[in-house]
């Protein structure tokens, strides 16, 4: 804008007494009315989340209380607890639920056990240059496609594949392969929060404990570990929830095994029983809710 045109406009004068508002009336209104600004900002994203997601979740709960007419395969919209009764009574659902939880627990325990020493080395032992390099090394596989990673394990564990060739032998496609693959895929998600909370532990704290005569093991156990709980919990929630919600890995490397997700998928699609699928999906929701409420006290949720 040229200087002359700016000077002719009332808002651009340097004399404070003559200075009027430069902004347009609409903008002035927005500036005065905080609630108007806020509702303009909030309306679109909130409407999206409510209409797409909250409604869908609520509908899922309601659908789980419906049933499917076995003759017409139309959805019968009268309330019934039949689906949940099926889940409790039928052995298959109990077995699959326990199997899914077992795999999720195994993956979580393995990942935390591997992540702790690695995160400790990265945060407290490695030099800053090595540390930066290691962070990149942990982050890079996160960007590699999920399916590519599962596929690569299918190849490694296949008959005549790398695992066979090394002499360790391949466990074959089955639950062990599922645990290995899932632990592999979610490991970075567990390392990163633990690493982040370790970085926040001041070195001086460890030095002070050492100077006061505490042996390394005691320092780790009674000073470092308690400070890491939020990070560990955050990482554990990630790997647990991600494993529980996964049914593709078990399709690819799990042999004939099924997890909860498979049952949901089959009932939503081929078996054409959306109400039962919705009821099965309530299992992971309830598990996560119980877990999150139990964990809330530790304050780990602030780190998510």
């Amino acid at each position: 804008m040229s200087a002359t045109s700016a000077d002719t406009r009332p808002g651009r004068t340097t004399d404070p007494a003559l200075r009027g508002p430069v902004a347009r009336p609409g903008s002035r209104l927005l500036h005065r009315m905080v609630w108007l600004r806020l509702s303009l900002l909030l309306s679109a994203p909130l409407a999206w989340m409510l209409l797409v997601y909250v409604v869908a979740l609520a509908a899922l709960l309601i659908t789980s209380l419906w049933s499917v007419d076995s003759l017409t395969s139309e959805i019968d919209r009268s309330w019934t607890f039949d689906n949940f009764r099926t889940l409790v009574d039928n052995e298959v659902y109990r077995t699959v639920t326990l199997r899914t939880l077992g795999v999720a627990v195994a993956v979580t325990v393995i990942d935390v056990a591997i992540a702790l020493p690695i995160a400790f080395y990265m945060a407290k032992v490695a030099t800053p240059r090595v540390r930066r390099m290691l962070v990149v090394a942990v982050l890079t596989p996160l960007w590699a496609s999920y399916l590519v990673k599962v596929f690569s394990w299918r190849v490694v564990l296949s008959e005549g594949g790398l695992a066979d060739w090394t002499g360790f032998g391949s466990p074959g496609y089955g639950l062990t392969a599922v645990v290995i693959t899932q632990a592999y895929i979610w490991l970075p998600y567990v390392i990163l929060p633990i690493f982040a909370s370790l970085e926040r532990v001041p070195d001086s704290l460890l030095e002070a404990a050492g100077d006061l005569g505490a042996p390394s093991g005691l320092v780790l156990r009674s000073i470092v570990l308690p400070l890491l709980v939020p990070g560990i919990v955050a990482g554990a929630i990630f790997s647990f929830s991600l494993t529980m919600g996964d049914y593709i890995t078990v399709n690819i490397v799990g042999g004939a095994n099924q997890m909860l997700g498979n049952l949901v998928y089959i009932n939503a699609g081929a078996a054409n029983n959306l109400p039962l699928a919705a009821a099965i999906a309530m299992i992971p929701i309830v598990v996560m809710l119980v877990l999150l409420t139990a964990i809330r006290r530790t304050g780990a949720l602030d780190n998510l």
């Binding site: 679109a44 994203p45 942990v138 999920y146 998928y265």
Partner: protein, 266 residues
């Protein structure tokens, strides 16, 4: 606390060992793309580029790639707009129900994938009564991509503070002018990072996608899944996997560039 040299070495060996192991399966896939054996037996007994040329001529793979790019671009744009609006609202204002909104954004990604998948599937098919198609995938992806943009923008807004925006308003700039000339330029790298994450998340997503994809809508992950089990297509899938591995290096490289820029400013 002083660690003995031995325990330092053990820790270091473990760290480097595990991190190296992380790359082994990916390298095996890369090596297998030139493995003459169709069943990919190890070790490869030669080198062939047949699979590469077959993949280059695979219409199915190319169409799936285009579909995935379309879905990811639209979902990312939606997520950028909605996530930024939400971050501005939550970071700059306080209102009743703020915590609930905060939780709501995280929920689609915090809940197990099958839950989000079946909820949206049921929402589309059972409640809205629409047929699954390509746009239903886009809606699903945008919903769980919002959080990545939201997180990045919110963190940036927190660090920015409000003094520059207040100065701009004191000097007479309107709300929109302040946003365009003061807020947005400061958000640029946060938007880039959030958008990149959203794009990668959408491009790669398979679980929610299988629940929301219509008959003809084949994204690249769906194509990979469908073809992985066909013995004569598996080597082509392997080549596509290698291409994806190569592409996944780009965001890492970009992120490094971005963070070194930030350090340069400091």
């Amino acid at each position: 606390m002083t660690l003995s040299p031995l325990s330092r070495r053990v820790l270091g060996g473990l760290t480097f060992g595990v991190l190296a192991l992380i790359y082994v399966p990916l390298l095996v896939v890369v090596a297998n793309s030139v493995n003459p054996s169709q069943s990919m037996t190890w070790p490869p007994d030669g080198v062939t580029f047949d699979w590469w040329s077959r993949a280059a001529h695979s219409d199915g793979a190319r169409e799936a790639l285009v579909t995935s790019l379309q879905v990811a671009v639209v979902a990312t744009v939606l997520a950028l707009i909605l996530g930024t609006l939400l971050a501005l609202a939550l970071q700059r204002y306080s209102f009743f129900g703020k915590d609930a909104v905060n939780l709501l954004v995280i929920l689609p990604i915090a809940l197990p994938g099958v839950v989000t998948g079946i909820a949206l599937n049921n929402g589309f098919k059972g409640i809205m009564g629409v047929d699954l198609a390509l746009w239903t995938i886009v809606v699903a992806h945008a919903t769980f991509c919002i959080v990545t943009v939201f997180n990045n923008v919110q963190a940036r807004l927190r660090r920015m503070g409000t003094s520059l925006e207040e100065a701009s308003a004191d000097l007479g700039a309107g709300v929109w002018t302040t946003f365009r000339l003061v807020t947005l330029p400061q958000l640029r790298s946060a938007l880039l990072a959030g958008g990149m994450l959203a794009f990668a998340l959408s491009f790669d997503e398979i679980i929610v996608t299988t629940f929301t994809a219509g008959q003809g809508a084949t994204t690249l992950p769906i194509w990979i899944l469908n073809n992985m089990f066909r013995p004569n297509q598996a080597p082509v899938v392997n080549v596509v996997a290698v291409v994806l591995i190569i592409f996944s290096i780009i965001p890492v490289w970009l992120a490094q560039r971005l963070s070194s820029d930030v350090e340069g400013v400091r």
